[in-house]
Amino acid sequence: MSVSTAPAPATSPETHHEDTGLWSWITTVDHKRIGIMYFVTSLFFLGVGGIEALIIRLQLFSPENQLISAQVYNQLFTMHGTTMIFLVAMPQAVAFFNYIVPLQIGARDVAFPRLNALSYWIYLFGAIYLNVSWFVGAAPNTSWVGYANLTSTQFSPGLNVDFWVLGLSILGVSSIMGGVNFITTIINLRAPGMKLMRMPLFTWMTFVTSFLLVTALPVIAVALILLAFDRFFATNFFVASAGGDPVLWQHLFWIFGHPEVYILVLPAFGVISDVIPAFSRKPLFGYPVVVYAGVLIGFIGWGVWSHHMFTSGLGPIADSFFVASTMIIAIPTGVKIFNWMATMWGGAIRFTTAMMFAVGLVALFTVGGLSGIMHSSAPVDLQQHDSYFVVAHFHYVIVGGILLGMFSGVYYWFPKVTGRLLDEKLGKLHFWSTIIGFNLTFFPMHFSGMYGMPRRTWTYRAELNVEIYNQLSTVGAFFLGASTLLLLWNIWKSLKSGEKAGHNPWGAPTLEWSIPSPPHHYNFPALPEVRSREPLWNDDERAAIEAVTLHEPATEPEMPNPSFWPIVVAFGITITWALVMTGIWWVPLLGLAFTALGVYAWAFEDPFKKKAAH
């Protein structure tokens, strides 16, 4: 407390609210700073997950390679998947939710700023906890799906699965709270006139994703709790010899796991649904249809989970149902693809780097989508299940879809966040090297998979004749890794000496481009009034809005104070889960008591209390 009331350094009165220094970041409740922290952290873990992938690729470079042991290989592919999904793809989307959504709907912050900070800190601590496992030599090793009964104490006696089950539980808390926060923000904090059907598509997809987060995460939470009870308290949930059913784990996991796929991809769809119209100089083609398609994907996404389990022997009736529902969900996705193409059709297209990544997504996600439709057929899936063909499929969807979408968002919104443009020349180099590296890595996996190379196996025999495909993949992976360094270099360079961006460098139509770049900490001096879907493309509407949004107010709007209780509570929650590892039932209660103290201090803190006079 004493730090926040210490005399402020002498600064000009206009900027005295923009605190700097480490403490101001630790206690921040500003959605923009939290967004930046999410982004930087997820970028760090992209590096971690990427290095894990590169070691995997080195091991697979030649048949019967002895570079790493099978045990280490298991840990690497498990942590690669877990990291990329829970520590990279989800938080990267949340980084954009945080920074962009309040700006797009004309809000000063999210509905619960402190809860937002709590979500971030839990994510950070959970991520650290999960990775501490490397340093004790017991990283999770049962793959990101952690099928029972491989995860039982009988077959996995070490700490590996403990780290996994508890780490994911911690991260789930963060996601549920984030979902609650963004649903409330989007329902309740829209500027006057920002009707639901006027919201930018990115906000819409955030909305749908948030519903999936609050509904899907509790399912995995229960599955993880049951597994934790099996491991720490010797219950029988997944113990077949005591009447338990290991297939129940698969159901619970995939009831979460398939909506999770849409949790990952819908934000990327949202990004490019904003980027493509901005650079085609045309409103999004069929806006309501794209919105409804997104909502429909959110709904049908709940009814397709067993297509991950065609080899579990559920019987012809269940299989037929899930074949049909899986084929049906391709329809709204296809609708989106056609709407993006129709938006570009006849538009005045500007091929900026952001636009190129968006178009890259449309092309490469379609490739992944097509192989997805192939596995939707149960008999075909039986041939492809657990082969590299599946690895190729979901990397086309996840890297070709999600990562490209996020890169598109980085190039699109970087000027808003920093006030400077990213270098377009380096950006295009980054784009082309990503496309080449990506296809070189993952396209050959279709073939190695078809030739019978299994997933999650640390080596292969020369007689399988898949060496050439693996070598191509390995070369491509290093190419892809190097291309990501180009992005880092571009960010570094542009932060220092990038071309200054005005408040709307792209001439984009949505509300976030009506305020200065970077925005003031209060975003909007007064709330603008929105009258259409593309408010900045109608001259009089833009003039009216910018008169409000670019105006420097005499007195700044009141914003919530910083708070350090979020980091305290996040620490408490993490410690509570981590202490479960002791296996003594009352030890985690110590962490719980600590958390409770933090929650009380939080509850009785008045976020708008006037600070002591400077």
């Binding site: 309740n188 509904t215 219950t235 338990g244």
Partner: protein
């Protein structure tokens, strides 16, 4: 525009729907909790009759006893409604009385659960005994944990009320605590029907 500026001046109380954000957020959280208990209940239902060794549900359940504890819990919801009414009217005595009733009834329910659990363990039904034991204790245990959190929450509100910190303007914090309490009650109704009443 003047209207928008006026709205903006009213800073952190403006919402697009007119609903308080805490309320919207809490309903969303309850939606999430539905899936949480839904999954636990599904697990119980999937494993119904799968226990390989006794005691079986019919051996241990004492329906009249659980009916009493269920009734007490349901009545606590009525007390919750009356406590909120007391706070909204600014009637401190009424509010404290009914909050006290919620706390007592909630604690009685927890007492019944404590008795039930120890009795079952005595009968040989432990967490580890069978899938029935595992699913039963984890499901009702998580419900009991929710009731415990609710009782602690109510005690906090009670203490605030004693210190005159629950004026009618603070009724929303009681209303949200009430939403939680009613939700936990409704979950129990489902558990009581699916776990105890259906043989």
């Amino acid at each position: 525009m003047a209207e928008a500026a006026a709205v903006a001046h009213d800073d952190h109380h403006y919402t697009s729907t007119g609903l308080n954000s805490w309320k919207v957020g809490f309903w969303t959280f309850i939606g999430s909790e539905c899936l949480f208990f839904g999954t636990l209940l599904s697990t119980y239902m999937v494993y119904k009759g799968a226990a390989l060794q006794g005691p079986y549900p019919g051996d241990v359940f004492d329906i009249p006893l659980t009916t009493i504890s269920t009734f007490v819990l349901l009545m606590s919801s009525l007390a919750m409604v009356l406590a909120l009414d007391g706070v909204q009217r600014g009637n401190k005595r009424l509010a404290l009385f009914w909050l006290g009733v919620v706390i007592v009834f909630g604690s009685i329910f927890l007492g019944f659960q404590y008795y039930e659990f120890t009795h079952f363990v005595h009968e040989g039904l432990t967490l580890q005994q069978s899938v029935f034991g595992s699913t039963f204790f984890v499901l009702t245990g998580f419900h009991g944990a929710h009731v415990t959190v609710g009782v602690i929450w109510m005690i906090s509100l009670f203490v605030m009320g004693l210190r005159d910190k629950l004026p009618p303007e603070k009724a929303l914090s009681v209303e949200i605590a009430g939403l939680y309490w009613h939700f936990v009650d409704i979950v129990w109704i489902v558990i009581f029907v699916l776990v105890y009443l259906i043989p």
